[in-house]
Amino acid sequence: MDRTVLFLLIVLAAASHSVHCSRDQSTAPAAREVEISSRMAGESFPSFSFLDTEGRPLSWTAAEATLEAEGKSTMPSALIVHVFQPDCGACREEAKALEALSRESGGVAIVGLAHRGEKGAAETFKQEIGVSYPLGIATGTDWARTWGRGDPTYIVNRESRLVFEQTGFEAKDAQLWRDVVTDLAAGRAAQVTGSGRKSLKVGEELPTIELASLVDGRPLRLSADSGELVFRTGDGREQRYRASIGFFSRY
């Protein structure tokens, strides 16, 4: 079974809060971050060299900040690299937004790099979403193992320096990308170094999870109450726990 564990959440009798995305969730006192992937803005973005879904070279040469794609060599003002998995729902939504951006932004180059799955899966992804920017196959490579964890999106400047990294996707992130690439195109230093949205911390409050059962569709609810975790099912059963371990899983 091709299983990808995206995220581990361990909660020890935490308080609950409602789910909302925020760029500032620094509610945990002196918390230790357990973010999966966090790189420093300004870090050198490495070269890569793969084949795209058409079998053509798709490469980035860091020393020259040059992209070779679809038989052409360019030096974009900004390079957006989406490292994705073809069967990832969020990646699909992100690719749609990147496709929209690719149609409106001059000077910015966008590439997708599949870090899991075979060429056929990437081709299907490209066709189903209508992606026109090049998709490379990086599956099984050291580059993908190092730079693909968490399905990140990177924005790189013309010095091949990382100016932005993001894991996860919300529709409003597209505006963030626009702001960054606009800054870079104008020769300004981009100020954004990441959304911070996924920065889970030890001690962070457990969000109430209120979703249907995948198996039978019944409503399920996990919340915290007075130092205990309370799990309720749609038929009214309630059980209390001292701790939980949960995964987002793509299988």
Partner: protein, 58 residues
């Protein structure tokens, strides 16, 4: 998910709540895989959930 099942079997009645939030482009396929694995801990359907957008990587 198999490892989680072992945790659930061993510690489920000792106060550990084990769960998965499924994030799959095809929930039907995820359901099939989940049944195939015979997991007995809860699996939430989270593909389109706000929680997933906020917290899941990818």
């Amino acid at each position: 998910m198999g490892h989680l099942q072992k945790l659930h079997d061993k510690y489920g009645d000792k106060g550990l709540f084990v769960y998965v939030i499924a994030v799959h482009a095809n929930p039907k396929e995820a359901r099939r895989l989940t049944r195939e694995l015979r997991v007995t801990y809860p699996v939430f359907e989270g593909t389109q959930a706000e929680l997933t957008k906020c917290y899941a990587y990818g």
